[in-house]
Symmetry: D2
Amino acid sequence: MNYRELVTAMTEPEKVDTITLGAGGAAYPAAFALARAGQQVVMVDPKGVMSGNCLAEGCVPSKAVYEVAELYRRVTAAPMSRALGALTGPPDYAQVVAWKDQVQKDRYRQHDGELQAASANLRLVPGTGRLIDSHTVEVNTTGSAKRFQAAQIIIASGADVFVPPIPGAQLCVTSRDLFALEPTVTSLPARLAVIGGGYVGLEVACMLRALGSQVTVIEALPGLLAGMDPDFVTLLAAGIDPTISIQLSASVTAVTKGDGGGFTVHYRIGDADSTVDADLVLMAVGRRPVIPDGATELGLPRAGHGLAVDVSMQVPGYPHLYAPGDVNGRSMLFHSAVRQSLVAAHNILAGNRVVDRMDFDSVPATIFTAPQGAYVGLTRAKAAEQARQVVEAAYPMADDSRAQILGDTYGEIRLFCDAQSLRLVGGWVVGADAAQLIGQIGESVAAGLTAYDLARFADQHPTAAEGIGKAARTLVG
Amino acid sequence: MNYRELVTAMTEPEKVDTITLGAGGAAYPAAFALARAGQQVVMVDPKGVMSGNCLAEGCVPSKAVYEVAELYRRVTAAPMSRALGALTGPPDYAQVVAWKDQVQKDRYRQHDGELQAASANLRLVPGTGRLIDSHTVEVNTTGSAKRFQAAQIIIASGADVFVPPIPGAQLCVTSRDLFALEPTVTSLPARLAVIGGGYVGLEVACMLRALGSQVTVIEALPGLLAGMDPDFVTLLAAGIDPTISIQLSASVTAVTKGDGGGFTVHYRIGDADSTVDADLVLMAVGRRPVIPDGATELGLPRAGHGLAVDVSMQVPGYPHLYAPGDVNGRSMLFHSAVRQSLVAAHNILAGNRVVDRMDFDSVPATIFTAPQGAYVGLTRAKAAEQARQVVEAAYPMADDSRAQILGDTYGEIRLFCDAQSLRLVGGWVVGADAAQLIGQIGESVAAGLTAYDLARFADQHPTAAEGIGKAARTLVG
Amino acid sequence: MNYRELVTAMTEPEKVDTITLGAGGAAYPAAFALARAGQQVVMVDPKGVMSGNCLAEGCVPSKAVYEVAELYRRVTAAPMSRALGALTGPPDYAQVVAWKDQVQKDRYRQHDGELQAASANLRLVPGTGRLIDSHTVEVNTTGSAKRFQAAQIIIASGADVFVPPIPGAQLCVTSRDLFALEPTVTSLPARLAVIGGGYVGLEVACMLRALGSQVTVIEALPGLLAGMDPDFVTLLAAGIDPTISIQLSASVTAVTKGDGGGFTVHYRIGDADSTVDADLVLMAVGRRPVIPDGATELGLPRAGHGLAVDVSMQVPGYPHLYAPGDVNGRSMLFHSAVRQSLVAAHNILAGNRVVDRMDFDSVPATIFTAPQGAYVGLTRAKAAEQARQVVEAAYPMADDSRAQILGDTYGEIRLFCDAQSLRLVGGWVVGADAAQLIGQIGESVAAGLTAYDLARFADQHPTAAEGIGKAARTLVG
Amino acid sequence: MNYRELVTAMTEPEKVDTITLGAGGAAYPAAFALARAGQQVVMVDPKGVMSGNCLAEGCVPSKAVYEVAELYRRVTAAPMSRALGALTGPPDYAQVVAWKDQVQKDRYRQHDGELQAASANLRLVPGTGRLIDSHTVEVNTTGSAKRFQAAQIIIASGADVFVPPIPGAQLCVTSRDLFALEPTVTSLPARLAVIGGGYVGLEVACMLRALGSQVTVIEALPGLLAGMDPDFVTLLAAGIDPTISIQLSASVTAVTKGDGGGFTVHYRIGDADSTVDADLVLMAVGRRPVIPDGATELGLPRAGHGLAVDVSMQVPGYPHLYAPGDVNGRSMLFHSAVRQSLVAAHNILAGNRVVDRMDFDSVPATIFTAPQGAYVGLTRAKAAEQARQVVEAAYPMADDSRAQILGDTYGEIRLFCDAQSLRLVGGWVVGADAAQLIGQIGESVAAGLTAYDLARFADQHPTAAEGIGKAARTLVG
């Protein structure tokens, strides 16, 4: 303990009601709710702004690029290109990035405004938080430290890109280099290699391919999108642009610098060694929870790479410690984090009694590839694994008015219902408007609706939601 | 009675279980369901194909044009145009029409296939049906006539464009001239005048404006979109391209032929007479139910311009006569017709007892303008009219990630909940993805979900559906 | 201001989070919830015990007498009396009262235990509370006064029997004299007169008639049970023991003492004066909210005889003042008060923001007469008044297995559904197990279930709940 | 084939739409629905009346006896006996039986009336049906036979008491001897031995004990009520009158005739032989499906002792053959049979397509013992078996107002909810009003309600349903 630390430790800590480690989607919804309810709340975040990975380098900026790529894909494909004519040149990637930056800046500004407008009870303290004990957080900023004592601590330290110890890994970029504000990558690579066939890798592969890159995806496992329903993955993957080279069961052994500014990715499939040359190599093998300093010393329980949590979002054994969001590794999605954060807030307001619970089984997930894919709840594989009797109902995009109107008829809507009650337990969508449709399906799963209910609703024509009702009607008449 | 009629009348009619007058969206869902259940079913339609207005000249072809126009609008607007570059020229309207025709042809082929694949019990007889008595339909085709006797008759004769007796009305085109297969209008009018500010007029105005026409809309009433919630209309209208000239409280007195192939629309606002010159004049003052021949003689009751029906879809006083779809004028939307048709089928299968009912209050409606608008259920005006206590919750598109990512931040999501139970009774969306979002909102209205339910669901990020949950959460925590 | 008041006013008030005026069903559910959540909570009640009218003199003791009376009625009626034989004598009313006292004592003991077991944050202070300002309550007990300052005040001062200024009113007893612990009335009156044909009057009339009294009910209005659905009342009333004399439109002009210890009730119907002699006269013309001292000075808004409240339970204009339960006069029932209390607690925990709302429309009410009656939600009269389109479905007790088995086949189950969605909006039950059945019906109303849902459920045989499903099935097949 | 059979076989069979084998609760609901929908329907039943076991010898008559026994139990127990006084003598069992007979006769008359009032399409043909082929049924009555050919056959032949081949089994009575119309047992046995501790045995044991018999129950398994949740059984059993002798793990080896008109039941527990003397021995080891003649020859698939069925009620492989009710052995309860019958009807009306499904998981079951017990859905044992994560919430009857008022405070209400969504998946009740409460709980399970929903409802006070809400509120605040 140096002198500064000593002084900090001796100073009486500031007492607050709740402190959040992090100021992203797992933190601020709770922070706002608690402050509005009259609690003194402090958010601690090294970035010093209200934002998690999602805005900083994740969903928001990547979808800004994605939407431009999708627009380009649509406008250059027949029949639309026949009707609208040709573009004068290829996309200007710097302008794509500029747009992405713009969106991020707008949202940062919005977040700042929300923070300003929030209750005076709520503060954002820049710095890295360290758990001193289960009620005390020390915040270290340049040249100083300060302690807070809190009745409750919400550990919402999020997750970070995982870079495996592959020789040459430092030559690779990560999603941060693509999607951070004013990112390092500002021109389109002619050749892109993606290490990792998870959703991040595959989304980037599709969007850069659409914008003009040649793309190779190298995945160590025998299938893409590990952890998702294999049949869903098969369906989705079969719709992906076949000019994207996908190498499965391919272990990357090294990344090396090539001549002329490029790189070579070395990989092995079975006994065979191969290489692929690229102008940019994206390392996308996954993200890992960020365990805050002090958590290990405190003995907080772990589950996988993350902190263990109950559905109350409480860390088992610590009713006043909550760990919503990516840090628990259970459902690493922004919207899941937001709801987890609110569950924590509701339980805190009830005096750390459990009055609200996270329903991980009704959280939708979307893969913003081309085609889009989205799913929610119990689908075929998980139902089989749990020995749940389900019946399926599907509607093919090929028959859907909206898909036909868009000229984008790949995919299907598929519903999974309890075989007896016909209560919707899950669903997936591949194709047109998947991300939108999963809202209606997911809400129905969350609310316990049945195929009987869905069948009675008159879905708007001509939208792809018609396929939801049509699928349901195959089950009930 | 001439000789042919005499022969027909004397011939023993063919006995079937159910006959449908029409073969569109109000007819074929019931026809298929009844045939699958073992009934002998005959559909009678003068077009001789399985299709109502929707496919022939309505939602499907108009949305095919709409989507091209939307794509053009997006790709030519900053910031997308900066990223993707310019198009080499203006849209090729003939190709837009070609695409629309293609979509229609594909769907006709699909319908043919469905009809082929259907039970042998189901036939489509071309011709115009006439009600002889409440169990007998005579089908007249060129040079012959045939009678069917049916236990039940489903009157699904739809609706048609209404052309008011304005001098020069015959100079105007209707939506059919734009959207029928191989339509008469195949080039973009430089100047378009639209008589009628209902949804058809406004949709065409927006899409042709987006494609390059100069557009004037002339509406007799003081507001657009008569029949919709005035506050919704105000919000929607304020987002429409201000270069579309909208003349309200403007009665068209005549349409005349101008020099050089154009037309002049004469109208009066208050005491002031005005004119607008146009290369094409669209008459879009509404559609009227098509009452089948014989219905009046039979004394079937009317409601407004349509046939009266109960929520069972039965014509009051005639348990075996059903009138789903546009013909009853209650909810002139394809998806509403489909559900009405199924309600009829379910009640027929139960022996004309009422076992299913149409819920007109949960049918969503979308206006495919720019911005899009959609609504469902009880919104502000109707709630006030019915003295229902509701609370509102809204989320502005300006704050929505998805809207920001699209660069399309006009509008809002608004929910209306019963003030006590917080049961969702209605909602509207103006802006990004309105047609998709109304699915989730409408399903929730139909299923009786509450703001409590919606607030617990983790809506997919970044989709505009997040605004649904965010709005709900303002009510419950 | 006297010396004691001066001292009190000068003393620094004790600061707490929330104070409740009252310690009954509108107060303690909130008090417990808030204390569990960590708030300092004080309940103030002149009775000095945790109990409202319900336990002290209302539902609990009256139902203890009611159940004995019901048992007596059943055991002495053919056919049960044939099977079980005769009782050796008439009921011993003193023992009936002893049983009632026993139940009350047990519940008081239980409440004491709950209070002991509650958080140390929660205290019950005996005394009468007076509002000094909107944050300060002064509690007056014998010889002392004390002030509390609270962030929130829950005004849950309940209601009290209303005794109208009729000459001789002081000769009458009230329900308190029958049902308080160790009540004044301990023997069965040979002749009972009841002034007031509301639910209290009618319940007492039925139970004392069953135990052997001769009973006359005198009601000023033309119908019994004012405020309830007239058709429900008609059905219920027609089932009541005809040996109870019911005088309607009968204004009591005086109560006088007769010879030999009895009383005479003088009343007028139209122009005709009548009298009825009785050994006991029950004054049961209604209960009135108890407005706490200081409320009027403070200018708290009123609605009818009670304090005005929003569905948030907040007093309009005072986000930190809540008035759940009888004091607002909206739904003077214990179970309604409990839920209202929890709504208040939820909103307090959210910082006086509205996150929960009282749904007065789904609160069931039961009349413990013979036959029993119960209702919930929107029934025929209210639906008509609100111009809501509803369909009805009913099942007669005469056809019900359970009712037949009990030999008690009067009455019916009746459901009211929205005419389109078939969502259950209300229901009533007259007859066997009404109080139990209203639970299933009310839960269904509250949860927004439809006749479709009810029809799919297999109600337990042979219970009267079968009638719920059977009624629903008449609507949906 | 004899002459009569030959004639029958040569005669053209009568063609109908649907034939039901049986005319009980699994048959007539479908028969009525189909006939109302216009089908020609024939019910075939050897009893020649519309009734299954339920009315003939099951739930209805047994509950008629049960209710008399319950009334006797309540009226003779303190404190009610103190208040109401003593009965002049023991119950008159002949009068109990007379009442039971009366109830049965009334219901038979009601059924006759319903049959008369039904559509002319519906006939009841007395006789035993035999399946000739999958579309043909031969009905044999005394001296004649007749064949019907049907598009669909509903096999609803029910179940019958199973009498195991124990020496002396013929000396025992079955539930039929107690509960049939004008039964053989008309006097109360001083000593009753019950072979079988299932629900029939236990119900009879309790009701006859209450009426005065000395009772011994002999069960071969180590626990009572095999097939029910062991923890539920333990709770229920602990509340049963301890003067009923219960012998577990006791195999009956023989029943012999004793001196003086009595019987001796010989049984073995482990290696020890014991006997019990009785004046009446009830054989109650279970009921078995009655497989109709011809089914085996036809090769209809079996499941356990019953016919195999899908949740559509169709016999696998035979879309036009249905086997609802006891005959499939899946859920041998009258109300389950009724719903199964309707599922069959709905699917028949849809042309033998599956448009409705039986939800066996939401069928409540009640044991009419003292105390009563009831359960529905997934309770602790089944949840564990299926590895479903559930949370429990309970409310003890000891704390319940209604139970206290009845002086009957044994038992509890227990809810089982999905651990994430808090959707109610099951529940049980032991104690006051269990049969009524299971309606509200079961409806909630069937409709997919959550603890959040239940907690918002204001359950009627003072009814035991309050415990449902109170239990739910322990989960959500």
